[in-house]
């Protein structure tokens, strides 16, 4: 047990990879066995991640926990350094929860190259978990790139009619961002020894040697010259903003979502996008505090554009999946808005909203996938009146619609309300503008619901549709439970986030908790 506890992060992250290697030994004709095995691996992956939630020490939630730090490539100072704080804990849990659901949803949807499909799904899972637990930039970058490959193949092989275009677009877009991200990392890598030599007292245990350690970079952050912060922020921005995606880097998303198979869309929306926002939280904010503050108006501007723009474009989409994809752009705009409000309310809301978005949008993609499997179309005009024949489906769809539009007692409300609260503390008009997104959100989601579920059945092809089966229900019930949990009793989530968020605010705005004046002015001035 002790061994398990000390190595839990490694075990959780590499377990899907181990499962994948075993899966490779199976006969590819034995599809049932492959499916059972992949589902088993994913479910076990979730189960072994539960101790993280239980054992995580809330009182030191801002400290890295379950840490393992082993020298890896010593010549360049890269270590195998993993650990999680409250922020990454939630994202790890989100990933281990969504993984099994996505895999379960593919049971009947994937018939070709079943073995390869599950191999890629498991590889993807390991890559994503690796990203969230890495505390070494080199290791992080390896996971960050590794996870591109399986996603590329999942879209490109099992996708829709324009899958190749979408896959290549996804890959190149993200790779382009990754290259700039790498440049930023290298810039940090090369300047660190100088900074550490000048300020050995802050470098402390990290020493003055070359290192990729994220915590080391964070330690010397306040001595990083502004010019460096400025350029590295921009480099990181491109890398992360493409992933989020922020306006105007979002156009790969609708294509990738529409073409990807259901499970791909679910993972993409629920987890992959969070890597961008996680990147901002873990790297941009604490390592580049002055750069972050300098770019606040820019980031907020893009966030508000994304909120309204995404919502307006979503409203007019004829394709259900594309509608949900654009709604993602809008919701992720809320996430970045809260984040760059740079105060505890905004950041708490932002992180909770990342989880919420994973839950709600993941569920919406599953819901669209269910109807797609039956009708092989996602065009809204093809549907109407489905609640007459699929009452259970109608209820689940309604709950997730309400969660997505931020109805109180469901998860979306908690996130959106605290985000806007955080935004308003910085500037009233940010909040007012973001509020428009909430009105539009209700409009497009309820319109979608009305056009697909309400009314009479006009299209004879819909008359014989069967309601959800148990497997489909099983993919959605956990998400519904979490949606209500966060909506009714979000305290455990805030408890986990409280300390790391305050710590983050302290890093970016050291006088936040002392100053009594409004800090709007401070944010606009660069050092």
């Amino acid at each position: 047990m002790d061994y398990f506890r000390e190595h839990i992060l490694t075990i959780v992250a590499f377990w899907p990879l181990a499962g994948m290697i075993v899966l490779m030994l199976f006969n590819k004709e034995n599809k049932t066995l492959i499916r059972w095995w992949a589902n088993f691996v994913m479910i076990v992956g979730f189960v072994i991640s539960i101790p993280l939630w239980v054992w995580f020490d809330r009182d030191t939630a801002d400290q890295m926990q379950f840490v393992q730090n082993i020298p890896w490539i010593q010549t360049i100072g890269a270590n195998y350094h993993v650990g999680i704080d409250g922020i990454s804990l939630l994202l790890v849990m989100l990933t281990t929860l969504l993984g099994p659901l996505a895999v379960l949803s593919s049971w009947e949807a994937i018939h070709d190259r079943v073995k390869e499909y599950y191999v890629f799904m498991l590889m993807l899972q390991a890559g994503m978990l690796g990203v969230f637990v890495s505390l070494d930039f080199f290791l992080f970058y390896v996971f960050w790139e590794v996870m591109l490959v399986p996603m590329y193949f999942i879209i490109g092989v099992w996708g829709g009619p324009r899958k190749l275009y979408a896959a290549i677009k996804f890959f190149l877009y993200t790779l382009f961002g990754s290259v700039l991200l790498l440049l930023g990392i290298l810039a940090l890598y090369f300047i660190y020894p100088n900074l550490a030599a000048q300020h050995p007292e802050v470098a402390g245990r990290f020493g003055t040697g070359a290192t990729f350690d994220v915590l080391a970079f964070q330690a010397v952050a306040s001595y990083l010259p502004f010019t460096y912060q400025y350029w590295i922020f921009l480099a990181f921005f491109v890398g992360f903003a493409i992933k989020v995606p922020m306006f105007p880097f979002h156009t790969w998303l609708p294509d990738a979502h529409v073409e990807a198979p259901t499970a791909g869309s679910v993972i993409l929306a629920a987890v992959l996008l969070k890597m961008g926002t996680y990147g901002f939280l873990r790297f941009s904010l604490p390592i580049l505090p002055d750069g972050t503050k300098y770019f606040v108006p820019f980031m907020i501007g893009l966030s508000i554009i994304a909120i309204i723009y995404g919502a307006l474009v979503a409203m007019m989409q004829p394709d259900m999946k594309k509608l949900v994809a654009y709604s993602s752009v809008s919701h992720m705009g809320f996430v970045t808005l809260g984040m760059f409000a740079l105060n505890p309310n905004g950041l708490n809301g932002s992180i909770i909203q990342q989880i919420n978005h994973g839950i709600s949008t993941g569920a919406l993609f599953l819901i669209v996938g269910i109807i797609y499997e039956r009708r092989h179309t996602r065009e809204i005009a093809q549907f109407g009146g489905l609640s007459n024949v699929m009452p259970m489906y109608a209820v689940v769809f309604l709950i997730m619609t309400l969660s997505s539009i931020g109805l109180p007692l469901l998860n979306g409300f908690i996130g959106e309300f605290t985000i806007i609260m955080g935004a308003l503390q910085q500037n009233l008009w940010w909040a007012v503008a973001a509020g428009a997104g909430i009105v539009l959100g209700a409009a497009y989601m309820l319109w979608l619901y009305q056009r697909t579920m309400l009314g009479k059945i006009e299209n004879p092809a819909n008359e014989k549709l069967i309601d959800m089966n148990l497997r489909e229900l099983a993919t959605l019930v956990p998400l519904i439970i979490v949606a209500f949990w966060i909506g009714l009793y979000p305290a455990p989530f805030f408890r986990v986030l409280d300390k790391p968020v305050n710590n983050l605010v302290l890093k970016v705005r050291p006088d936040y908790f002392q100053g009594t004046q409004r800090l709007n002015a401070e944010i606009r001035e660069p050092r």
Partner: protein
């Protein structure tokens, strides 16, 4: 039993009903569903009555009881405009004070009657269990709204009732008009919620708390310490933001457009949600925030003017509507305008008083109209009614009482509350004679359109088609008993606020006093009026109402209704009234279509420009690659080849020497050697 500590259970009983009926209702008998739904609401009513009774036992200064269940949200510290950090924290807490007492009694009491009525009215409908599940969910939300002890809890209920309104308006979801109306109601309400939520957040940033009592205390302290000033733009901003929310929920200009369409829902829903309870939430919210409004007299003027204008405007539309439920819908908008007029002139208690009496008679009128519709097999058009007086006598007499009450007949419920409002609109410091005039005109119009409804429906010649005529029947007892109880209420409910000028003690207002206690801010001198003046004003408004009645009598009772004559009477105003001043069309043109066009436009922009840039750069890369391939082949390679060729060409003489034969090289070497030796031997000397 200490009901005061159990107030948190009051919303939970109907919530349990929702869960039971929602999950298992499909497999239960209709009776069972009805018993669960009505029974749980009745238990809520008992708990409410018990709690209010126990509250009344306390002396008036201590009539405020808070129950906190758990900490719901704690999103960490925040800067407030005051300076110190404050945690944004929301408790799942409830507050029982005189104001919420009135509200929970109205909601559970009238709600229970409407539940009973619904068991009869909805008996033949599909999805009976679904209806009662939603109705119970509504009760849960509404009770959370009025019992919550802070603004965010209120917002929870606020959104919840909005959702139930959506679900219940869209109850006949196979009808497109119902789906449209439901969506419209939700989205228009969302516009209001936008303002409300911004208002809540501004309150937090200003006071560092969103708890009603604490906000009131901080405000009071701030005023005493001189930190807060009356008319500060901050308070005006908060008050107006909150009022945007109130206007959405309570259907005031400019957000009233959803309410008439909401009549697509079943009639008990119209009675419960769109007349008696939910639509008064805005009134409750403004009354609850009275301390903020006291700090912002300018905002109060806005509230008063919008209320008075809405009252007038909606009444004018109601004059010509032919759908029995639409007449009542516009009447509701108009009466809600009255309530806001009261709040706006600072007569908070009068507004709540009218809210309470209105709940009785408007619920009665809606349920009565439902009974008519039920009798006529879902006919709502008054042009196809007439002469129903003797065929459905209970419905007629109860509706007649309701009409008398709303028209302001002396000594019925509506009289006391409406009179109080009109008097305050005239006499209060915030009042104005123009506000009184508008209000009085509305009183006349109300009498007119209500009696028009009564005469068109129950008097004159029958315009019912023959097939339906045979089947006209009085409604079952489950429907008529609630009508009778509500009719009694419409008569007596006003006596709790028996006014001083008639020798009463205005107990209702006194009861609410602790909630509406004025802030210690300088007030202008109250003008002194005698009871006689008040009596005179009351007489004037009664006279105006009588004129309205007389006009209705001469046009719709003495002579039977005729479409052409009615159109002639109004001339060019008729289509304007009938089409509700074309406001819907205007909104479609201004907002809905604009948003859709913007969506389409931005989508094209996305595809052409943003994605165009991406695809463009991809194209540039591909073309660039082809180009550089060409360059490589023809230019770079060309130069290399050219140089190679050049050298090759220029080197042919040398190549003649470079034969590769050893003997040739040997010959050259020997020749060179001989030349060298010759040079050494002979050249140097």
């Amino acid at each position: 039993m200490n009901f005061l500590d159990l107030i948190w259970l009051i919303p939970l009983f109907p919530a349990a009903g929702f869960v039971i009926n929602g999950l298992f209702g499909k497999r239960m008998s209709k009776t069972m569903v009805g018993v669960i739904a009505c029974g749980l609401v009745f238990i809520s009513f008992i708990f409410s009555a018990g709690a209010v009774y126990q509250l009344l036992q306390l002396d008036s200064a201590h009539r405020s009881h808070t129950v906190r269940l758990y900490e719901w949200i704690n999103a960490g510290p925040a800067h407030t405009s005051e300076g110190p950090l404050a945690n944004f924290r929301v408790d799942w807490g409830f507050l029982l004070d005189p104001l919420s007492s009135v509200m929970i009694l109205v909601v559970t009491g009238i709600g229970f009657l409407i539940h009973i009525y619904s068991t009869g009215y909805m008996h033949e409908e599909d999805g009976y269990y679904r209806f009662f599940a939603y109705l119970n969910l509504f009760m849960f939300s509404m009770l959370t709204l009025v019992l919550g002890n802070n603004y965010v809890m209120m917002f929870v209920g606020w959104e919840g009732v909005g959702l139930c309104s959506y679900l219940l308006i869209g109850y006949y979801f196979h009808k497109k008009s119902a789906g449209d109306a439901a969506k419209k109601a939700f989205v228009v309400n969302r516009v209001g919620d936008w303002g409300f939520s911004i208002g809540i957040m501004m309150i937090f940033v200003t006071f560092g708390t969103i708890d009603f009592i604490q906000v009131g205390e901080k405000l009071r302290e701030g005023v005493m310490a001189g930190a807060f000033h009356v008319g500060d733009p901050l308070f005006i901003g908060i008050a107006l933001a909150l009022f945007v929310g109130a206007a959405g929920k309570s259907a005031q200009i400019p957000l009233y457009v959803w309410l008439p369409d909401a009549m697509e829902g079943p009639t008990p829903v119209s009675a419960l949600i769109h007349a008696a309870t939910m639509v008064t939430a805005g009134v409750y919210m403004v009354a609850r925030s009275n301390f903020i409004y006291q700090m912002a007299p300018q905002a109060m003027t806005v509230v008063a003017v919008i209320g008075a204008v809405t009252a007038f405007f909606a009444a004018s539309i109601g004059l010509v509507q032919n759908d029995i439920k639409r007449v009542l819908a516009y009447s509701t908008v108009s009466q809600l305008g009255y309530m806001f007029l009261a709040l706006g002139v600072g007569a908070f208690a009068a507004g709540i008083f009218h809210l309470m009496t209105h709940a009785f008679f408007k619920a009665l009128l809606f349920l009565g109209s439902g009974s008519v519709i039920h009798a006529l097999h879902h006919e709502q058009d008054m042009r196809k009614m007439g002469a129903l007086k003797n065929k459905i006598p209970v419905t007629f007499w109860t509706m007649f009482v309701g009409t008398l009450a709303i028209a302001g007949t002396p000594f019925l419920a509506g009289f006391f509350s409406k009179d109080e409002i009109l008097w305050k609109a005239f006499s209060s410091n915030q009042g104005h004679v123009l506000l009184w005039l508008l209000g009085a005109a509305v009183a006349g119009m109300t009498a007119f359109y209500m009696f028009r409804l009564i005469f068109m429906t129950f008097f004159g010649e029958s315009r019912v088609d023959h097939h339906t005529e045979h089947h006209i029947h009085e409604s079952p007892r489950s429907m008529t008993v609630p009508l009778i109880i509500l009719a009694i209420g419409s008569v007596v409910a006003g006596y709790v606020g028996f006014p001083a000028w008639l020798g009463g003690n205005n107990a209702f207002e006194k009861f609410l006093d602790p909630v509406f206690e004025p802030l210690p801010i300088p007030h202008g001198p109250e003008a002194e009026y005698s009871h006689l003046a008040e009596a005179g004003m009351a007489a004037a408004s009664v006279a105006i109402a009588l004129i309205g009645f007389g006009l209705a009598y001469s046009k719709y009772c003495k002579r039977s209704w005729e479409q052409q004559r009615e159109i002639r009477q109004y001339g060019s105003l008729y289509p304007v009234f009938l089409n509700k001043y074309y406001v819907d069309e205007g909104y479609d043109f201004l907002f809905v279509n604009q948003a859709k066009d913007a969506g389409t436009g931005l989508w094209k922009f996305d595809a052409a420009v943003v994605d165009g840039a991406v695809n463009g750069s991809a194209w540039t890369t591909v073309e660039g690659a082809l180009g550089s391939g060409w360059w490589d082949r023809w230019v770079v390679d060309g130069i290399v080849k050219f140089i190679g060729g050049f050298i090759r060409t220029m080197s042919w003489p040398l190549r003649l020497i470079q034969t590769g034969y050893v003997q040739n090289y040997a010959l050259v070497m020997i020749l060179g050697l001989l030349i060298f030796i010759g040079y050494v031997l002979w050249g140097t000397s």
